[in-house]
């Protein structure tokens, strides 16, 4: 095992003890008190209505999905970028095709309105050629 690995392990141990220390010290030193509304979630001062286990629009999910797929594409680009000079023009051509497909995907999502959030989205719908596709 290289000395470098030991240093990084030592450093990680230091970092972990700092984080744990902060939590523990604050727990030990902190005050305690109980009032009538102490145990209620904060909702701008009014009594809470309903549970916080809400459900959300699937659009958030779309962002996450886009992210994961683009992250995967980025990783391929990473591995090309680091070996750029060794791979030469042949590698460049391969990467260009790869990035081309990525751009095609981006353009498609853009045209279909997957990248529009909020106001822009609604506008898209009203002047929609896709009128017949939605019920």
């Amino acid at each position: 095992m290289t000395p470098e690995a030991w240093y990084i392990l030592l450093y990680s141990a230091g970092v972990l003890s700092v984080a744990v220390g902060m939590v523990v010290v604050s727990f030990v030193l902190g005050q305690r008190h109980r009032e009538r509304a102490t145990d209620e979630p904060y909702e701008s001062g009014i009594a809470t209505t309903g549970s916080a286990r809400l459900r959300f629009s699937a659009r958030f999910y779309l962002v996450a999905m886009l992210f994961v797929i683009f992250d995967l594409e980025a990783v391929f680009i990473f591995s090309w970028a680091v070996a750029l000079r060794e791979l030469g023009w042949a590698g460049y051509a391969a990467a260009l095709v790869f990035i081309g497909v990525l751009v095609a995907a981006l353009v498609y999502e853009w045209r279909m309105g997957a990248l529009d959030w909020g106001v822009a989205k609604r506008k898209n719908r009203s002047d929609a050629p896709s009128e017949e596709t939605r019920k």
């Binding site: 450093y11 990467a95 990248l115």
Partner: protein
């Protein structure tokens, strides 16, 4: 033997230095904001209010350390620790001066990406575990924002990696002996800084906490030092972002006359002040603007930068 002692010293100094930097930043930011807004800022505790962070620390450590009974206890406690650990771990691969680093990994940059993506857990889990509506919305926003901007940040740095031919941050600094990458990779620098700010969810990208609409977003239910850890994590993240911009674009420790470490600190300090000035001068974006900015401007710019840089690097070979 001497080398071991030197490295142990480096490990301790990096840890102590970054943490005290976070404390100092709390003071610096309030003073600078006050300066730009034509008021005094903290000036009571010690000369120029310099001991304000110490007073803040004492106060925050003795505040009630409340774990809501409706929260998911284990996750609630772990979430703030995650952000402190991931940001501090990122400093392990930052080269401060020749030989002054905790570790020089040949996948250093990827290690940083990994740590920043793990940092996203902190906000998401804090939002979920709090079991509060504001927190949940803040957590979801944080998730969508940080995970999107990670992609742009990664892609923006690939031009730098191509020119340096390595993921090692030491090699990237050494590749800037001639020209700093802020000249040859200017679009990448802009994308990196914007994406980095969004990653640290600072103004103008602080939608996850947006106090005017979500109270405090994902940390609404946090008190005491657990809140303080999010706070410290944010300042550590600003320091990290500035240090990384220095290493990747502004030649790291390179510079004439002065010793390398001084150059590194000066450049990082200047960038930190720039980031604070941004907070003083820009309003918060809307969430859809944030997403459009990322996917429709930053991503195409980053991709174009990769393609052009690759061609130029190969032509110049």
């Amino acid at each position: 033997m001497r080398e071991i002692v030197f490295h142990l010293l480096v490990v301790v100094c990096v840890l102590g230095g970054t943490l005290s930097m976070a404390g100092a930043l709390i003071w610096l930011e309030r003073r600078l904001l006050a300066l730009w807004q034509d008021r005094y800022g903290p000036n009571r505790v010690g000369p120029f209010g310099l001991f304000q962070p110490v007073a803040d620390a004492i106060k925050i450590f003795t505040k009630e350390d409340w774990i809501p009974p409706f929260a998911d206890r284990a996750v609630f406690v772990a979430a703030p620790a995650v952000i402190v650990v991931t940001v501090l771990m990122s400093f392990a691969v930052v080269p401060f001066a020749p030989g002054v680093w905790v570790a020089d990994l040949n996948v250093g940059l990827l290690f940083l990406f990994g740590m920043s993506s793990l940092g996203a857990y902190s906000l998401i889990l804090a939002g979920w575990a709090s079991n509060n509506k504001y927190s949940l919305i803040g957590g979801l926003r944080a998730a969508a924002q940080t995970i999107s901007y990670e992609v742009f940040m990664g892609l923006s740095l690939m031009g730098v990696v191509m020119l340096a031919g390595s993921f090692s941050l030491r090699a990237i600094v050494e590749a800037q002996q001639g020209v700093w990458f802020c000249v040859t990779q200017f679009p990448a620098l802009v994308v990196f800084l914007i994406a980095g700010l969004a990653e640290t969810h600072r103004l103008p990208f602080d939608m996850p906490e947006a106090e005017s609409e979500l109270v405090a977003g994902f940390h609404s239910e946090y008190s005491g030092m657990k809140f303080g850890m999010f706070f410290v994590g944010e300042y550590l993240a600003i320091t990290l972002l500035s240090a990384l911009a220095t290493v990747l674009f502004f030649g790291g420790w390179l510079g004439p006359v002065l010793p390398p470490l001084v150059w590194f600190v000066l450049k990082t300090g200047a960038l930190i002040c720039g980031i604070i000035l941004l907070r003083a001068s820009l309003p918060r974006l809307r969430f859809d603007q944030l997403m459009s900015l990322g996917w429709k401007i930053l991503l195409p710019v980053a991709l174009l930068n990769i393609v052009v840089t690759g061609a130029i690097a190969l032509l110049g070979k």
